[in-house]
C-alpha cells in the first residue's frame, strides 16, 4: 500500500496487466513518451515498440487498430488523448466496436479498453474539456467506467482490461493528480458495482468523477447543519448499479445527482429518471441534478470557475430539498 496519484495508479494497472498478459498492448498518439497525462510513463522503456505503439494523428485508424486486433485475439488499450477527440473516432467506437458482436450473431469478442481524459483543466477551452460519457452510455455493447480516485482507478482499469467487452475508460482530468492509498499488487474491482463513499442517512448524492470529491466536501459542510449525506460513486456508468443507488434512496428519501458534464441529457438524467421511477414511493422531495450549464466550455479562468459544478452546487441542491 502506497499513496499514489490516480495517474500513477492507472500507469500501474496498465503495467501489471501488460506484465500478466502479453496480448495486452497500448496504441495511441505519443504514448511512447508517456502519453499526454503520463499514464504510460515508463512503459515504452519496459515493453518496447511492439507493445507501446505510437500512431499518426489518425483517430479512426487508431481505434480501428483496436477493433481489428481485438477481433482476432489481442487485448488492445486504445488511448484517445482528450475526450473531445472521440468525435473523429465515433464510427469505429459506436458502429463497429460496440455493435460487432451483436451484428455478427455472437462470433466476435472484443476486449478493448478505450482510455480517454475528460473534463476541464486550466483553461483548455471548448474543444479540450469535454465530458461526453452520456453518449457512450446510450450505446449498447459498450461499458463505460469513470473512476473518481486512484484506488478505484487502478482496480477498475485492471477489470476493464480483463473484461471481454469494449470498455470506455474515462479519467476525469481534475481527479488525476489526486492521491490515495493504492495497493502495489494487482487487483480488480468488479465493473457495474457502485461504491458508497460516505454512509449517510438524509440525502443520497450520486456523483461522478471529480464531483465525488466535491460531494464529500459538501457532506462535511452540510454535516455542520445536521444534514447527513450518503455519497455514492457509480464508478461504472454503463451498466449502472441502480440497485445500490435505489436502495440508498429508499433509506434517505432524498437524492441529488452530480456530474461535470452539462446537465441536459447527461448521465444524471438517466440516474435521476431511474431514481424517480424505482424509488418513487420513497421520495420526500424531487431528485435534483447538478451539472454544468448548457454552454460550451469557456476559456477564461473566471468563467471556467463559474462554469464548473462543484461542492457549493451540491450544497445548494441539497438545501433546496428542504424547502
Amino acid at each position: 500500500m502506497t499513496v499514489k496519484t490516480m495517474t500513477a495508479a492507472i500507469n500501474e494497472a496498465i503495467d501489471q496487466e501488460m506484465g500478466r498478459d502479453d496480448r495486452v498492448f497500448v496504441a495511441g498518439e505519443d504514448v511512447r513518451v508517456g502519453g499526454p497525462f503520463g499514464t504510460e510513463a515508463g512503459l515504452h522503456a519496459k515493453y518496447g515498440d511492439k507493445r507501446i505503439v505510437n500512431t499518426a494523428i489518425s483517430e479512426l485508424a487508431l481505434t480501428g487498430i483496436g477493433v481489428g486486433a481485438a477481433a482476432v485475439g489481442l487485448r488492445p488499450i486504445i488511448e484517445i488523448m482528450i475526450m473531445d477527440f472521440v468525435s473523429v473516432a465515433m464510427d469505429q467506437i459506436v458502429n463497429q466496436m460496440a455493435k460487432m458482436k451483436y451484428m455478427l450473431g455472437g462470433q466476435a469478442r472484443l476486449p478493448i479498453v478505450v482510455t480517454t481524459h475528460a473534463g476541464i483543466d486550466s483553461s483548455s477551452a471548448a474543444q479540450h474539456s469535454g465530458s461526453l460519457e452520456a453518449w457512450f452510455c446510450h450505446v449498447p455493447g459498450l461499458k463505460v467506467v469513470m473512476p473518481s480516485n486512484a484506488y478505484d482507478a487502478k482496480g477498475l482499469l485492471t477489470a476493464a482490461i480483463q473484461d471481454d467487452n469494449p470498455v470506455i475508460y474515462i479519467s476525469n482530468k481534475r481527479c488525476m493528480q489526486t492521491s490515495s492509498e493504492v495497493p502495489d499488487e494487482s487487483y480488480a474491482l468488479p465493473l457495474g458495482v457502485a461504491d458508497v463513499k460516505r454512509v449517510g442517512s438524509d440525502v443520497t448524492v450520486v456523483a461522478i468523477g471529480r464531483l465525488v470529491l466535491d460531494a464529500l466536501t459538501a457532506a462535511e459542510e452540510l454535516a455542520k447543519e445536521g444534514i447527513n449525506l450518503e455519497v455514492i460513486d457509480p464508478r461504472t456508468l454503463s451498466p449502472m448499479d441502480t440497485t445500490t443507488i435505489v436502495k440508498s434512496v429508499q433509506k434517505t428519501n432524498r437524492a441529488v445527482v452530480a456530474h461535470e458534464a452539462v446537465r441536459n441529457c447527461g448521465i444524471g438524467a438517466e440516474i435521476a429518471a431511474t431514481i424517480a421511477d424505482e424509488a418513487f414511493d420513497f421520495l420526500d422531495a424531487p431528485v435534483k441534478r447538478v451539472g454544468a450549464p448548457f454552454t460550451p466550455v469557456p476559456f477564461a479562468p473566471l468563467l471556467e470557475k463559474q462554469y464548473l459544478p462543484g461542492a457549493q452546487d451540491i450544497v445548494a441542491a441539497v438545501r433546496s430539498l428542504y424547502h
Binding site: E59, G68, K101, M103, L104, G105, P111, P140, G141, Q162
Partner: protein, 324 residues
C-alpha cells in the same frame, strides 16, 4: 503465370457460384422473401475470386456492403449466407446481421460493413495483430472507389504503410458510388495513384480478367507476407446492376455503357479462356453452371425452411459474459 487446371476450374466455379448466388438473392429481394438491402456483386466476381484464390485459408479479409462475393470467394457457405438473408437462426450471423454484416470469423472473414470504408481501419487492426502475433497471415481489405474518399481510407492507408502492416488494399472501382459517377466524386482518375501518398505500390488491373487480378494479387500478397508491407490494387470493374438490387430505377445508366461492360463479363471471358485452353468444353461449362445453379436452389430451399431466431436472441450477444 501458370495456373493448374484445377485452379482455373475452381476459379470458374467460384465466380459462377457468386453470380448464381446473387442473381437469386436479387430475385428473392424482389419477391420480398429476403430482407433489407441487397447489394449485388454481379459483374465484379473476378476480383473477389482472383484475390481470394491467392490467399491461404487462415488469411483474413474485410468486406463491404457489397460483400456476398467476398464471402463466397473466401470459402463462405452459401446456405448459411442465404439463411442470413432469410434472417434465420442458422445464418452466419444468426439472422441478426443480414447482408451488410455477414461475417465468418472462423474463415477469416472479419465481415461485411454497412459503413463505407470502415473495413479499412479494422483490417489494419487485424493485420497489426498478425504482425504482433508473429504469424504470417495476410489481411485483404476490399472496398469500392467511393470509399477512397472517406477519411478512414486515408488514415488506414497511412498507418498501414507506417507499420508495414501485412495487408493488401483492394479497390473495386466499378465507376459508381450509389448513383454518382466516380469522376464526379473522386478527384483522381486511377485510384491506384493514391498509393503514392503512402509510399505504397499501387497497381491497376483489369478487374474483368481474373487471371490478371489473380497474378497481381499473388504478388501483392507475397509482398505483404514477406514483410514488404502493404500495397494497393485497383481493379477496374463494373456493377452490372443498380446500387441496391437489380433496378432501383433511380439512375438510368447509359445502356451502351452497360452493354460494353456486359461484353466483358468476367465469367464469360474466363469461360472462353478455359475453353480455349482446353480446360473444359462449352458443354462441361454449362453442366458446371447448371450444377451450381441447382445447388443454389437447394441451398435456398433449405435456408428458407431453417428456424427463425428465438425471441431471446434479441437480447443475447450484446455483451460477452466472459473475462480473462
Amino acid at each position: 503465370m501458370d495456373l493448374t487446371n484445377a485452379t482455373m476450374l475452381r476459379m470458374f466455379e467460384q465466380m459462377t457460384r457468386i453470380r448464381e448466388f446473387d442473381e437469386r438473392a436479387a430475385l428473392l429481394m424482389e419477391q420480398a422473401r429476403v430482407h433489407g438491402s441487397v447489394h449485388l456483386y454481379c459483374g465484379e466476381e473476378a476480383i473477389a475470386v482472383g484475390v481470394c484464390e491467392a490467399l491461404n485459408q487462415d488469411d483474413y479479409i474485410t468486406s463491404t456492403h457489397r460483400g456476398h462475393g467476398h464471402l463466397i470467394a473466401k470459402g463462405g457457405d452459401v446456405e448459411r449466407m442465404y439463411a442470413e438473408l432469410f434472417a434465420k437462426a442458422t445464418g452466419y450471423n444468426g439472422g441478426k446481421g443480414g447482408s451488410m454484416h455477414m461475417a465468418a470469423l472462423d474463415l477469416g472473414i472479419i465481415g461485411a460493413n454497412g459503413i463505407v470504408a470502415a473495413g479499412l481501419p479494422i483490417g489494419l487492426g487485424v493485420a497489426f495483430a498478425s504482425q504482433y502475433q508473429e504469424n504470417d497471415r495476410v489481411t485483404v481489405c476490399f472496398f469500392g472507389d467511393g470509399a477512397t474518399n472517406e477519411g478512414a481510407f486515408h488514415e488506414a492507408m497511412n498507418m498501414a504503410s507506417i507499420l508495414k502492416a501485412p495487408m493488401v488494399f483492394v479497390c473495386e472501382n466499378n465507376g459508381y458510388g450509389e448513383w454518382s459517377k466516380t469522376e464526379s466524386q473522386t478527384s483522381v482518375t486511377d485510384i491506384a495513384d493514391r498509393a503514392a501518398s503512402y509510399s505504397m505500390p499501387g497497381t491497376i488491373v483489369d478487374g474483368m480478367d481474373i487471371a490478371a487480378v489473380h497474378e497481381a494479387a499473388i504478388e501483392a500478397i507475397a509482398r505483404a507476407r514477406s514483410g514488404g508491407g502493404p500495397s494497393l490494387l485497383e481493379c477496374k470493374t463494373y456493377r452490372f446492376y443498380d446500387h441496391v438490387g437489380r433496378d432501383f430505377g433511380v439512375l438510368q445508366r447509359d445502356p451502351q455503357e452497360i452493354a460494353r461492360w456486359r461484353a466483358r463479363d468476367p465469367i464469360k471471358l474466363w469461360r472462353e479462356e478455359l475453353i480455349a485452353q482446353g480446360v473444359f468444353d462449352g458443354k462441361t461449362a454449362d453442366e458446371i453452371t447448371a450444377a451450381i445453379a441447382a445447388s443454389m436452389e437447394s441451398a435456398i430451399a433449405r435456408a428458407e425452411q431453417a428456424p427463425d431466431p428465438t425471441p431471446e436472441a434479441l437480447y443475447t450477444d450484446v455483451y460477452s459474459e466472459t473475462q480473462v
